[in-house]
């Protein structure tokens, strides 16, 4: 039996790795992948706690997250494609036209 602590460690690690990717990469695709990693880290925590407390809410929530993620990826990839068509690259640091 793997203790809940291990799940916690792995989940938080995944989340932080994803966060670091989001914050430090300029490539839009890697950014999106990092977001996926963060979400998966969260999902792991949901499922682990659902198992620990014998409660289905966490599992259902994890399913919803996957569902929304799938939709989000579809939109996000389309956006990335559109950015590439306009700019010729997918560097997020060049998407700065919303400055004040």
């Amino acid at each position: 039996m793997i203790s809940i602590g291990s799940f916690l460690t792995v989940g938080i690690l995944l989340f932080v790795i994803g966060l670091a990717g989001v914050l430090f990469w300029r490539n839009l695709l890697i950014l999106l992948m990092s977001i996926e990693i963060m979400l998966n880290g969260i999902n792991l925590l949901f499922v682990a706690y659902a198992a620990k407390w014998q409660h289905l809410d966490g599992q259902i929530f994890a399913l919803f997250v996957m569902l929304v993620t799938a939709a989000e990826v579809a939109v996000a990839l389309a956006l990335a494609f559109a950015v590439f068509k306009r700019k010729g690259n997918i560097d997020v640091s060049q998407l700065n036209r919303l400055n004040g």
């Binding site: 989001v22 914050l23 997020v92 640091s93 998407l95 700065n96 036209r97 400055n99 004040g100």
Partner: protein, 625 residues
């Protein structure tokens, strides 16, 4: 079903309006026929109402009928008719004089391109006026009150190509709005004080005497404001002389005999409200008395025949209001009845003269007696009635007013002075316009029969209606020996009273005034031009009508416009300049200072978001303990 009869009286003229506007606008003769038929039908239907209506003045039940119209909260408003002695006399005045003037109009308006429109408006007026007379509650009377205002506006501005006519219509409408505003407030206060708008319920409640006093005083004064505007009392009288721009039969019907008397009728209808508030009644009396003398002095110097009659109307309306204010509703209504006859006669006579000489200036007339015998004789009878020479109508009714006023020395003096001036300006008008040598350019000739026959009927009425008040029987028409006061009264019927001293003084004053006027203008006993030169200040003041129009002009252009400019300045500088623009400036300044936060860099935004989320988490974790 006699109680349904008043509805037919009311709706025949409306039917005529519909028929004329929908079908006969292009057929002048048909329009006139429809309009006159409607008027005649109303008059005929009034006749069976006389008996029951007069019986109501002797304790019988009035003829009433009402249908529910709307109910809001505790307020039930119905549309109803109420016929008692007071209503009967008004109905007779309105329908009979209306009928005569309709017939006269076919001659006077002959060939006018708005002939059909004219009769549609006249029928609309008849409908509205009958609505006022028959109304059984404040809301209904107010609706018809506005409708007579509308038809008055339409008929004053009937020749709308003339700037003066359309301006006069607007002036009449606007001045009446001032009074109507007060009237609305008065109705609201009546409802506030009594909880009902029905005349009978208000009066019954007043008889019980369990209403708070202060709102009732204000309500009475405000209701009177409505009457002040409609009956052209000082200071809202300025519209009536200008209203003479309308066709002369309109002046006769609306601006002399009936509509302007609606204010007096309103006072009579709501008399118990005033009787419960002696202070309000005094205000009414003094306004009326002042208007009577004020207008009579202006009438003395007018040269336009219709303007002389218009100021005379103002003055006589002042008499009626004064009579009611002095506590005798009977006197006021009696003078209304006789005045309607002789003033309609005088206006129609003036119309006949204008028709013949194509001028309204009395100095363009003269020597009409031989050329227009019927007009001249009937005009003479009307003049004698107006001057108050016995035994013509005006003498009796003026006498009743003066008798009522004799309890108040100031009012009595005002009334007697007015009686003298009235006789004087009537004598001046008649002497200059009808006697002496002809001064007109065109050859004047007598008017057609459709115009002279109504004149003769009105002359007969002007001669005899006064006897009604004295309790004398009128041959062929009225056999009773009970006076007007037994039919139209507040409280209980009363027999005619004779105040011989008042009567003799008023007769002497009238004869003196008339003789003086004749001597000055007919015999040259005194040269008016020299008097004019000697007392030129007075003359200018009178010719300028006490500068009332100038005063109102100043009031609008200086005071009201100044106030408007002040409001505009306050709005622009304070409200917009300080508050609205100030708020906008603050928003813009703060936005300008904080816009650097938005770099547009995704990573910066994410860092702030992440940092913020971490900070929140920290707060939650620390606060949790």
């Amino acid at each position: 079903m006699i109680s349904l009869l008043p509805w037919f009286v009311l709706f025949f003229p409306l039917l005529s309006v519909l028929i004329i506007t929908l079908f006969t606008l292009r057929h002048p003769r048909a329009s006139a026929a429809v309009s006159i038929a409607a008027c005649a039908a109303s008059f005929v239907l009034v006749l069976p109402l006389i008996g029951p209506g007069l019986a109501a003045s002797h304790g019988g039940a009035p003829v009433t009928h009402r249908v529910p119209w709307l109910s809001v909260g505790g307020l039930e408003i119905g549309m109803g008719v109420h016929v008692d002695g007071l209503t009967v006399f008004m109905l007779l005045v309105v329908t009979l004089i209306g009928l005569l003037i309709h017939i006269y109009s076919t001659g006077y308006m002959h060939g006018d391109k708005g002939f059909s429109r004219y009769f549609a408006f006249m029928s609309l007026f008849m409908f509205s006026m009958l609505g006022i007379v028959l109304a059984d509650n404040f809301i209904q009377i107010f609706i018809f009150w506005e409708l007579v205002g509308l038809s008055s506006y339409l008929l004053i501005g009937f020749w709308y190509e003339k700037t003066a006519a359309s301006d006069a219509g607007k002036k009449a409408f606007l001045v009446n709005r001032v009074g109507d505003f007060g009237f609305v407030l008065g109705i609201l206060l009546v409802f506030y004080a009594t909880g009902t708008v029905n005349f009978q319920e208000v009066m019954t409640g007043l008889a019980g005497g369990h209403f708070a006093t202060v709102p009732l005083f204000a309500a009475a004064v405000l209701v009177f404001t409505g009457a002040v505007a409609k009956s052209a009392q000082f200071p809202l009288h300025v519209w009536l002389p200008d209203a003479m721009e309308g066709p002369t039969p309109v002046s006769a019907l609306i601006h002399a005999a009936t509509m302007v008397a609606a204010g007096v009728y309103l006072l009579a209808r709501t008399f118990p409200l005033f009787a419960a508030e002696p202070q309000a009644l005094l205000i009414v009396a003094y306004i009326g008395g002042f208007t009577a003398l004020f207008a009579a002095t202006v009438a003395v110097v007018q040269n336009d025949i219709k303007r002389v009659l218009a100021y005379s109307t103002l003055s006589q309306l002042g008499y009626m209001v004064m009579g009611i204010g002095a506590g005798s509703m009977t006197a006021g209504m009696f003078h209304l009845t006789t005045h309607a006859c002789f003033k309609a006669l005088l206006f129609l006579g003036a119309g006949s003269v204008i028709h013949a000489v194509h001028s309204q200036d009395i100095w363009d007339m003269g020597g009409l007696f031989k050329r227009m015998p019927i007009t001249s004789w009937t005009f003479l009878i009307g003049s004698l009635a107006l001057a108050g020479i016995p035994p013509f109508a005006g003498f009796f009714s003026k006498d009743e007013v003066l008798a009522a006023a004799s309890h108040y020395p100031v009012l009595y003096l005002l009334g007697t002075a007015t009686a003298f001036l009235t006789a004087f300006y009537v004598a001046r008008l008649f002497t200059v316009a009808f006697l002496g040598k002809p001064r007109q350019q065109v050859h004047a000739h007598e008017s057609p029969k459709v115009m002279t026959v109504p004149l003769m009927i009105l002359a007969a009425l002007s001669a005899v209606t006064g006897w009604l008040g004295a309790g004398m029987p009128i041959p062929f028409i009225f056999a009773s020996d009970t006076g007007f006061g037994s039919f139209v009264h507040s409280g209980h019927p009363h027999a005619p009273e004779f105040h011989y001293s008042v009567m003799i003084i008023s007769a002497l004053v009238a004869v003196a005034g008339a003789a003086f006027g004749y001597l000055v203008y007919g015999r040259g006993a005194l040269d008016p031009a020299r008097v004019k030169d000697r007392a030129w200040v007075l003359y200018v003041v009178l010719v300028k009508k006490y500068f009332m129009d100038e005063f109102y002009g100043w009031l609008v252009s200086a005071v009201q416009q100044g106030w408007a400019r002040l409001c505009a300045w306050f709005d622009r500088q304070v409200l917009i300049g300080t508050f609205v623009n100030g708020l906008a400036a603050i928003t813009r300044w703060s936005g300008d200072k904080t816009r650097r936060l938005q770099t547009g860099q995704l990573h910066a935004a994410l860092l702030i978001m992440g940092g913020g989320a971490a900070a929140l988490l920290l707060v939650l974790l620390l606060g949790g303990n």
